[in-house]
């Protein structure tokens, strides 16, 4: 068994950490406060090759692997979880289904600009009445000659309204239920496609979620991804990979909070000594550190499986479950260690705690992760 990163993975990681600290971290608190979506940071990530990290160079990617990609999401999320999820949705949920299910033409036309970072991606599955239960979705797609006509609404669309390319799910055969769902590539600017209100959220406030409306939205039939009826499978396999991204985001949040807590506990003096010299604090930090490392192993293993074309559905679900729970508990403990200061916006740990909560909810709630895991182990 080999736990060592390659020199290349290490170099990519240190390059991204440097970028995250110099170009993402300084504005994180302010962007959170103002709910500001930083397109300029995404443009810069595009120029550096981060938005196409795991995809081959022939499609505009950097030609690295999914472990380097997971570490990129981790490093960015360590300083700003909002930017981390934008990156994850772009790479895992929008680019990946096109990479995996797309035709050569679709890859050149849509994956290339996504991987090169000149266009941003989004993923529209969730609807007002179809969250965990995707089968309740009501968006439809009707074939009309060389086109499909889409009608319906999506919600909680991450990067929505900012993204130029959306992968959207709609039913081409209502009677067939989940087997009648299909996936489409929809470009921003298509007549009939519009965006609604921006969600006001507890955390990841510098990330954007919007409603998406499709009213007689005509898209070329060539934008059907995979085959008619393959949509649900495309969505579920994309989410398997997306969960590695969310798990990496969770890991980054937890790592960031752990580092903050270690530093603060050594500096904060009460009763004439640093608070870290109280075993109550030191043991809390020990538990936090152990949770972070445990999560890290699961996240990296899931990413390793994906890179090496091994099954990763169960692994990704475990990574997401454990890492998101770790993020929630580690950030909560970090706030506790900071005391009253931790509850204020003077320090980043309250933001990290607010950001952590969503990781237990999206891309399949942790209840759903348990369904996936139990389904696999009880088989």
């Amino acid at each position: 068994m080999n736990f060592e990163l390659t020199k290349e993975q290490e170099d990519i990681r240190s390059m991204i950490r440097d970028f995250a600290e110099k170009s993402v971290a300084p504005t994180a608190a302010e962007r959170d406060e103002k709910e500001y979506f930083p397109r300029e940071i995404f443009d810069q990530m595009g120029e550096l090759g981060i938005l196409g990290l795991p995809y081959p160079e022939e499609y505009g990617g950097a030609g690295s692997d999914f472990l380097s990609y997971a570490m990129a999401v981790e490093e960015i999320s360590r300083v700003c979880a909002s930017t981390g999820i934008g990156l994850s949705v772009h790479v895992s949920l929008c680019s990946w289904p096109i990479f995996h299910y797309g035709t050569e033409e679709q890859k050149q036309k849509f994956l290339r600009p996504l991987a090169e970072g000149t266009k941003l991606g989004a993923f529209g599955l969730t609807e007002p009445n179809a969250g965990t239960d995707a089968s309740a979705a009501t968006t439809t797609a009707v074939k009309d000659g060389d086109h499909y006509i889409l009608n319906g609404a999506k919600i909680f669309n991450t990067n929505g309204g900012e993204a130029e390319i959306e992968v959207i799910f709609a039913s081409t055969d209502k009677a067939a239920g989940l087997k009648g769902m299909s996936a489409f590539i929809v470009e921003k600017g298509t007549p009939g496609l519009s965006f609604g209100k921006k969600e006001v959220k507890m955390g990841i406030r510098s990330s954007v979620q919007r409603e998406v409306f499709m009213k007689d939205c005509r898209i070329p039939a060539a934008n059907l991804l995979g085959k008619e009826g393959q949509g649900f499978k495309i969505a579920m396999t994309a989410l398997d990979g997306g969960r590695i991204g969310v798990a990496a985001q969770s890991l980054g949040i937890a790592q960031g909070a752990l580092e903050q807590a270690i530093k603060y506990s050594k500096e904060r003096v009460q009763f004439g000594k640093p608070i870290s010299s109280n075993q109550a604090i030191a043991f809390k930090i020990a538990d936090m550190a152990a949770k972070v490392e445990g999560a890290r192993l699961l996240v990296y293993r899931a990413a390793y499986h994906k890179s090496h074309h091994l099954p990763y559905s169960k692994e990704a679900a475990m990574a997401k479950l454990v890492a998101s729970d770790a993020a929630m508990s580690v950030t909560t403990d970090a706030v506790q260690i900071f005391g009253g200061y931790g509850y204020t916006r003077e320090y980043p740990v309250e933001r990290m705690m607010r950001d952590a909560k969503i990781t237990q909810i999206y891309e399949g709630t942790n209840e759903v992760q348990r369904m996936v895991i139990s389904g696999a182990v009880l088989r």
Binding site: K7, E8, D11, I12, M15, D18, F19, S23, E47, L48, G49, I50, L53, E57, A62, G63, S64, S68
Partner: protein, 261 residues
């Protein structure tokens, strides 16, 4: 345009420890980085390449691990890297260093511009760049904060403590740059991967047309007696009254007393 950039690998700390017996730098245990000013030099070279086309080659004299510094430059976008390394170069002072680097540049042969940093953050002498130009017999402009190239004419802003001067020169030219000239770019993912796989050639004494007596310790006439931080030449005055209004009033009084306003 053929551009060469001289880069030095230095310890990543403001406080370089000095061996009290030998008066040389203790490098052990300190992480190494590319001398920060040399990154500005590389960025200046890359910007010229982006604008005018050409090729950027980075060269460094140092131990084998200096390859890491060169890789970082390749990741940022340099086309080629050459490490100049030989036991015979050990103990070089600035004269021997610049002699060796000049011989390296002669072997490379063609160049329009040579870039150096203003100074290295460990040695701090700011001598190597100018000495390379002298060895090669080409013109040099130091402390450059802005560059424009027009045909074979180079026009620069040279930084002084109290302002800057505009200077023109003809190619080939050696230029040393200050920090304010630019913000060095990040390496890209592709660049990082390419740099990782790159084979960096190592040139030894045998590859260069050099006089062995002028290399390394033998070729280093410098005797280090003492190293110290010189006292600051111009100490600033801080006016800090209770309010900004009061501070401004004191400032105006001082300026008019000095007959400046």
């Amino acid at each position: 345009m053929e551009i060469l950039v001289c880069i030095k690998q230095v310890p990543d700390t403001a406080e370089v420890k000095i061996d009290p017996v030998t008066n040389t730098l203790i490098r052990q245990g300190v992480p190494s980085i590319v001398n920060p000013f040399d990154k500005n030099a590389l960025e200046a070279a890359l910007q010229l390449k982006d604008k005018h086309g050409g090729k950027v080659t980075v060269i460094s004299m140092g131990p084998p691990q200096a390859k890491e510094a060169l890789r970082e430059c390749l990741a940022m976008g340099a086309d080629n890297a050459i490490l100049v390394s030989d036991r015979a170069f050990g103990g070089s002072d600035t004269l021997a260093t610049s002699y060796t680097l000049a011989a390296t540049i002669r072997k490379i042969g063609t160049y329009d511009l040579i870039f150096c940093g203003k100074q290295a953050i460990d040695g701090d002498t700011a001598q190597v760049g100018p000495e390379i130009a002298e060895h090669l017999g080409i013109a040099q402009i130091t402390y450059v904060a802005k560059i424009e190239v027009n045909g074979d004419t180079v026009s620069v802003e040279r930084e002084y403590e109290e302002g800057y001067g505009v200077i023109e020169g003809k190619l080939p030219l050696l230029i040393s740059v200050v920090k304010s000239i630019n913000e060095p770019r990040y390496p890209t993912i592709k660049g990082t991967m390419k740099a990782n796989r790159a084979e960096i050639p190592v040139w030894t004494m045998a590859d260069l047309d050099v006089d062995e007596q002028k290399l390394g310790l033998k070729g280093s006439p410098t005797q280090v007696r003492r190293i110290f931080t010189p006292p600051q030449r111009t100490e600033g005055v801080i006016i800090q009254k209770d309010t900004a209004w009061e501070s401004v009033a004191v400032l105006i009084q001082k300026l008019s007393d000095a007959k400046i306003i």
